[in-house]
């Protein structure tokens, strides 16, 4: 084999191994704070399950990490999603939001779910169970309308 091809392979290998040492933060919390959305509203069980499975990984202080999400470069991607997702909407801090902000976020959830923008498609690629069915979308819509 030509030597430069060998070098390319070796360098790529080194990069792949090297990036495994890039630290990423772990988004997990033992307690359920009183500001958690589950303590702010009574949420029907079926709606709660949808939120937990499809949204909480990026929008709460508790991410469920499957094994591959700890491997780079997936870990960096997940880290970025969690950071940006929590900034927009954090279900663990929902009780701290002003009434106006709560209204904004609930409105936004309805629209994002209806338009199929959330959960992010780059995420449902790996988490098939997080994809929302038409019926699940309807359950979220109705829950928020009736709040």
């Amino acid at each position: 084999m030509k030597s430069y091809i060998k070098w390319i392979i070796y360098s790529l290998l080194i990069v792949l191994v090297g990036i495994q040492f890039i630290p990423t933060s772990i988004n997990q919390q033992e307690i359920t704070p009183y500001t958690d959305i589950r303590k702010v509203y009574t949420i029907p069980d079926n709606v709660l399950t949808i939120l937990e499975v499809s949204c909480f990984d990026c929008h709460s202080n508790n991410t469920n990490y499957p094994f591959y999400s700890r491997i780079q470069p997936m870990a960096m991607l997940m880290d970025k999603h969690v950071r940006e997702g929590k900034e927009e909407l954090n279900f663990s801090e929902f009780g701290d939001y002003s009434d106006r902000k709560k209204r904004n976020k609930l409105f936004s959830i309805q629209n994002q779910v209806k338009d199929g923008e959330m959960p992010l498609s780059s995420y449902t690629l790996m988490h098939n169970d997080a994809k929302l069915t038409a019926n699940e979308k309807k359950l979220i819509e109705e829950w928020i309308t009736n709040l």
Partner: protein
């Protein structure tokens, strides 16, 4: 061997692109800060009187852009709106009013920011206009304005759930429906 190589190449490419992605955020920062400096020097006199005129004028401009289906222009005028909102000082407000206005500011700056970021998605811009308009209406009711302003309503906006907007003309130019139905809706009355 060929297989191993393609896998490694793909891996390497993924790494390079994902790094490039995370790099892009810090480089955006400088433009933001220079704009903020500009706007605070421009609007010095206006804020002294607790006047809402720069806020309202940029809101009206943005609303007109949306009526004309121009998402790119709406993104620009909503940036002006963000700056005007950030410059507002509620010196003459009572404590209670100030608290409410502070929440309105946080909320409306967030909506305006989304409208700026979604220059390519007029549907999403109009979603944020629904609640932004409620913020602007509440702001006028608390702070007051010298201008004549009206509340307009369209039952078809907001996925047929209905939505209001604020206008300085006593006629309907619908920012939610745009050029498909610019005259849909009615004027509810003056906001005071």
């Amino acid at each position: 061997m060929k297989k191993v190589m393609t896998v490694l190449m793909a891996g390497g490419f993924f790494v390079l692109t994902s790094c490039a992605g995370s790099d892009s955020t810090p480089t955006e920062k400088p433009t933001e800060t220079t704009e903020q400096v500009n706007s605070s020097t421009q609007t010095e006199e206006v804020t002294k009187k607790d006047n809402l005129s720069s806020i309202l004028n940029s809101y009206f401009e943005m609303s007109e852009n949306l009526t004309n289906d121009s998402a790119a222009d709406a993104a620009k005028s909503s940036e002006k709106l963000s700056n005007a909102l950030k410059d507002f000082q509620g010196d003459q407000l009572s404590n209670k009013e100030y608290k409410e206005v502070d929440e309105i500011m946080n909320s409306s700056i967030e909506h305006a920011g989304h409208i700026t970021e979604n220059a390519g998605d007029i549907h999403h811009q109009r979603e944020h206009l629904v609640l932004l308009s409620l913020d602007i209406k509440d702001l006028i009711e608390i702070v007051g304005t010298d201008q004549k302003v009206y509340e307009a309503y369209c039952p078809m906006a907001n996925n047929n759930k209905g939505a209001i907007w604020v206008t300085n003309k006593n006629e309907v130019n619908n920012p939610f429906m745009g050029q498909s139905m610019p005259k849909c809706g009615k004027i509810n009355g003056e906001i005071k």
